[in-house]
């Protein structure tokens, strides 16, 4: 459903992406791997129109949305859990979840079931949450837009191991319900447990891609590109 071809992008004069090709089919879980600063977040920002790409195309269900306004991209079915959480500090937890929600499968109750901690803190202001709580809220907020493709940029950063495990469980569940997921994370091992395909980028270019089976079969991929 998401199809990215030849995407290039730059921050001012410094070019970051040099032609990214990437696609995610319905119900598929794809990971975007790469070391720090290789352009993963930049790829996501370009897809969402938060950064205007300098070239290439972004299509969602065949519709060309290259460089479109972010709300149009989101409206086409993408839900974003951004790097650095970016929750709304002056809204309560509950309002954070409701503000941008759309009708669908995910409801407030569903999110609270998924993250009981958020229910406890539902009247807290966003800026009064711990780092981990904010992360949960960011995921919940994206789900509340009922996307068909969830994009998670470092969703488990700064999370305690137990919570991190919860998130993996949650993603696995989303997958089983037929949702497509594009996920960026440092924990390659955890990702291989449920992802279908992997795309590795280095210096703004795709340098390797393959299925989970491929990655397990060629252990040097991890060494060469990810150094784990």
């Amino acid at each position: 459903m998401l199809e990215v071809t030849g995407l290039t992008a730059a921050y001012g004069d410094s070019r970051i992406l040099f032609g990214i090709d990437l696609h995610v089919a319905k119900g598929e879980v794809v990971t975007l791997l790469g070391r720090n600063g290789m352009g993963k977040t930049t790829t996501i920002r370009s897809i969402f129109g938060l950064l205007k790409p300098t070239g290439g195309t972004v299509r969602i269900d065949g519709q060309d949305l290259t460089g479109a306004e972010p709300h149009l991209v989101a409206g086409a079915g993408l839900g974003l859990v951004p790097e650095g959480r970016q929750i709304f500090p002056t809204l309560t937890v509950q309002e954070n979840l409701q503000a941008t929600a759309t009708k669908g499968k995910w409801t407030l109750q569903g999110i609270y079931d998924l993250f009981p901690r958020l229910h406890e803190r539902r009247r807290n202001m966003g800026n009064q949450l711990s780092g981990g709580e904010q992360q949960m809220l960011a995921i919940g907020r994206a789900l509340m837009t009922n996307p068909r493709l969830v994009v998670l940029d470092e969703a488990t950063e700064g999370l305690a191991p137990l919570i991190r495990a919860d998130i993996w469980a949650c993603l696995t569940r989303l997958k089983s319900e037929g949702e497509a997921i594009l996920v960026i994370d440092k924990n390659v091992d955890a990702l291989t447990k449920f992802a279908d395909r992997h795309v590795v980028i280095e210096k703004g270019q795709v340098v390797w891609q393959g299925t989970t089976a491929d990655i397990l079969a060629t252990p040097d991929v991890k060494d060469r590109f990810l150094h784990v």
Partner: protein, 306 residues
């Protein structure tokens, strides 16, 4: 003395309500869109000129008011589109400079269109006259009507911002525009709406004072600073703050001017009291603001942000 006190309290309330109507738009645009709009005062002026024109055309205050509202909305949308929108991503000082330019343009434009002499708007028949209060004291019905209308609008705004989805989005957009947009909301449209609403409120305020005050080119400026004082005292972005701030400023100002010299006479001789009173009266609002900000640097209802 108590009669005078009650009368002045009413006067304070009426001025406060008026300030609130103007300040509400400013604080919304400021708090939510993070735009410092110096041209907010001229919107107030435009409201007055619009009703003066429409009332003269139709011969009726009410018809004038009715025509003024959509016209004001259009003015707001046009200004937003032409000047404000390119400034969203810019620093506050750039906004100050550009909207300062806008003030000059509008002031001069109004002078070209309507001339330098003040215009006047007749008081609507229905609301003219005074009702007796206590003893010989009377209070103009029109001013009571202003108080009532302002209270109604205040309540409506409070509900809008704090208890509706639109309100949530507004507050969310205030801190992170990009993220709201990435979650599927057309923030541009939302902001246009906020600005137009703010413009409408300011124009409305200008329109309803037109029958009491003269309509002239300086009216926007004189009210602008006072409005900023109100917004800052109340805390930027807070509707409740704007309301309390407006009432506080108005009542302190009104009562202070009347009773300040009287009180001073208790502590110093009459001529010195008169002198000091005269010096302090215009400072009163500023002293109030400085004192409040000293105690609460983020205003009465502001969020502390570092």
């Amino acid at each position: 003395m108590t009669n005078l006190f009650i009368l002045q309290l009413l006067n304070g309330a009426q001025l406060g309500i008026l300030l609130f109507l103007i300040a509400a738009g400013l604080t919304l645009v400021f708090g939510i869109m993070d735009v410092i709009n110096l041209a907010h005062g001229v919107l107030y002026m435009i409201g007055a000129y619009l009703i003066a024109t429409f009332a003269a055309l139709t011969g009726s205050f009410w018809a004038g008011l009715l025509l003024m509202l959509p016209a004001a909305l259009v003015v707001g949308l046009v200004i937003e589109r032409l000047v404000i929108r390119p400034l969203y991503a810019r620093s506050h000082l750039d906004q100050v400079l550009a909207t300062f330019g806008l003030v000059m343009i509008v002031n001069e434009g109004v002078k070209i269109l309507w001339g330098a002499s003040p215009l006047s708007v007749p008081m609507p028949e229905l609301l003219s006259g005074s009702i007796p209060l206590i003893g010989p004291l009377q209070y103009p019905v029109y001013r009571l009507a202003i108080i009532a209308a302002g209270l109604g609008i205040a309540a409506g705004l409070y509900v809008l911002v704090n208890h509706t989805r639109v309100g949530m989005l507004l507050r969310a957009g205030a801190t992170n525009r990009e993220m709201v947009s990435a979650l599927g909301v057309d923030i541009g449209k939302l902001f246009s709406l906020v600005f137009a609403l703010g413009a409408l409120l300011a124009c409305f305020a200008g329109a309803i004072v037109a029958p009491i005050l003269s309509v002239d080119t300086g009216m926007g400026e004189s009210v602008l600073i006072l409005t900023f004082v109100v917004v800052v005292i109340g805390g930027i972005g807070s509707i409740r703050g704007a309301f309390m701030g407006a009432l506080l400023v108005a009542i302190v100002d009104t009562l202070g001017r009347t009773f300040g010299p009287i009180l001073l006479r208790y502590v110093m001789e009459p001529s010195a009291a008169g002198q000091t009173g005269r010096m302090l009266a215009p400072m009163l609002v500023y002293i109030l603001m400085a004192a409040i900000l000293f105690a609460r640097p983020q205003g009465l209802f502001g969020q502390r942000t570092t």
